[in-house]
Symmetry: C3
Subunit: 282 residues, 3 copies
């Protein structure tokens, strides 16, 4: 079975202007047999944290040979470095602005290099579109098998931002809203919660500070509080409630989620990233 080089693309470029198409032209000129997969081009403009979240949800489902190209780059044209990160779960090409923070917190970092060598950039590098001129050719050459140390010096201090921290005591976990998706489902930082029969066990997605080990509780005895609303209990699925009812459940990434069945919870409850969320149980 032939395995073509596989490159995913995540940007805040939108899809109306041809910017993404242009990047694909650059890639396919270098590595014609590549398979390209769009992840999202609707990251909110310059929202590095949202891009980091979307990356976190999808990379585990791609083969480890995948190169994930991420261009959400408010610092284009400044001194921020273009970098490539190698982990056992995949390679990542991005600006050094923290967008890979969640990956670095979860995966073993095998290498971080600066994409410095002009041989692996377009002949003319603009000040305003490094996605086309540096990142796309970098990802293409990586996918084509160029050696990691050919691109440039190792980066010892890649920029990262703190991963979501949970505060917890037995009976209570405090987190925040991470993301509201296309359906208006509201994903929180409280996760990963694993079903064990009727019980939920917290196995944090990211390294945590002072959280007790072994936080387990009965889903039926749990209550979510957000913006003065109390939602109980935690259900396994949307279908557990009537159409149009608010519910708490465990979403597809294993995080506590607030939803409205066949409706929009973000709008109904006026929730946005950063809003505090508390989960309590008896």
């Amino acid at each position: 079975m032939d395995k073509r080089p596989l490159i995913t693309i995540t940007t805040d470029f939108g899809i109306a202007d041809g910017y993404v198409g242009t990047m694909k032209g650059v890639i396919l000129d270098i590595v014609p047999q590549a398979q390209l997969v769009d992840i999202s081009h609707h990251i909110s403009p310059q929202d590095v944290r949202q891009a980091a979240y979307v990356l976190y949800t999808m990379y585990p489902f791609f083969p480890p040979r995948t190169v994930h190209l991420v261009v959400v780059d408010p610092g284009v044209g400044s001194a921020r470095r273009p970098i490539a990160l190698r982990t056992p779960a995949g390679a990542f090409v991005a600006p050094d602005n923290g967008v890979l923070s969640y990956i670095m917190a979860r995966e073993r970092v095998e290498a971080v290099v600066e994409l410095a060598d002009p041989r692996f950039q377009l002949p003319q590098v603009s000040h305003t579109f490094h996605g086309r001129d540096i990142f796309a050719p970098g990802a293409a050459h990586l996918a084509a098998g160029v050696a990691w140390d050919a691109f440039g010096p190792a980066v010892a201090d890649p920029m990262t931002f703190p991963t979501p921290q949970l505060e917890g005591t037995p009976g209570r976990i405090r987190g925040e809203v991470l993301h509201a998706d296309h359906f208006g489902n509201v994903i929180t930082s409280i996760g990963v919660l694993v079903w064990e029969g009727e019980t939920l066990r917290l196995a944090p997605a990211f390294p945590q500070g002072g959280l007790p080990r072994d936080l387990s509780f009965s889903a039926a005895a749990a209550t979510v509080e957000v913006k003065g609303q109390r939602i109980a209990p935690v259900h396994p699925t949307y279908a557990a409630v009537e159409r149009d009812a608010v519910l708490a459940l465990i979403g597809s990434e294993g995080h506590l989620e607030i939803a409205v069945r066949e409706g929009n919870a973000a709008r109904r409850l006026d929730l946005a990233p950063g809003d505090p969320v508390t989960l309590t149980w008896d």
Copy 2:
């Protein structure tokens, strides 16, 4: 000429969140040489009928070896079955919620099976994202050539909803609005209408009850009535009228369509799916 496995994808997931990209990762991990084609990810959330309509317009233009993956799934997590349908015109993977009704009404049903065998699902199946955990791997394994009867038991009673029914007498056909497209063109259930010179002949897209056979009429003598407006005659093409004029014509799937040349008929005439439409002639 190599023919790679061909899979189309139709969802209501939008394209901002990475859900579709995640499904593609799952597919390409199973069948790396697959060719993936997005049909639409902007089906209105949970609108099974709209998805059924979009499927109906596009599948005849794909090779019969294509696997069409459809995930519009308001019942995710409930007892609704995940199914695969084989016809001479292509294979279809979808929730058993009626989204394949138009296909089953038009094509010979060769097999319907439940995607029950966990060997062809992800190791962990969430309660909320069967697109990723069941449907994507199902479509991938089908495209990779796994035998149909390996997936699970035959389904004798797949769910279907009634296909659009026309009421007609010589001189009059009554139908309804099916869909308003991106341009605001309004497609009705009155079709397929085939041009024979200046004459239009009705050859219904779906099996019909008490409709007379051989409904033919002169396009020049036909009038469309919708929401109290009369539009006449039926034209062959947008270019038959001035810019900004309302017209009736036969659209690209052979259905009676109401349009505004270089404008938006759905908005201008305030038309929506379900609105009754009458076509009369002398």
Copy 3:
């Protein structure tokens, strides 16, 4: 290294209806090994000039073997011809409505043929969807290697519209707004401007009438005027100003651009295509 036939697609069809997917089905039925790249399907409905602009920005980054398929076609069903254009920089398939004007002004025209032969169209050609019935199969057969003269007669007089003309004297260039992109960055017709150290030199993107040769000036001494606002100087990059500040810079295609750092200049300054822009310097 295998090079699969490469086809880009640019339309005003949106991505909700399945029209683009249908075209891809037609293409892959003819040339199963094709690599398809979406450029944009969000050209404003029937906006031939916007499509021409998007084409202009992206085609140079694709290999010359690429077939660029463009369907923005207000005249569908009228007498306008479907054509294919061959240049050393790529092939183009489009309606003969001026959408290839910028390409013809910049590249050597090697051949223009009418897509007239029904062997290279679908068996049934509708009056309303030539993208599916004529243009997609035309592009597919071209990409598959069908000889150019097999498609139909040479076209001696393809339709073109004038490319953007600049008025200039030493010390002053007058142009107009060409495009506002997804970020709200406003691209003007004043270009290509090439950095030579701190100096900018005008090397017009399109043939020009009475413009003096050798227009060079110091970026630091330049001022942009648009809608009564004065913006100075011309910067190399967004990062040269504070967040939320208005600036002038040279965009990724080498055109004078007006932007707001991490903001939306089109909205802030109320700019739209056609608005006059003046660049002056000491």
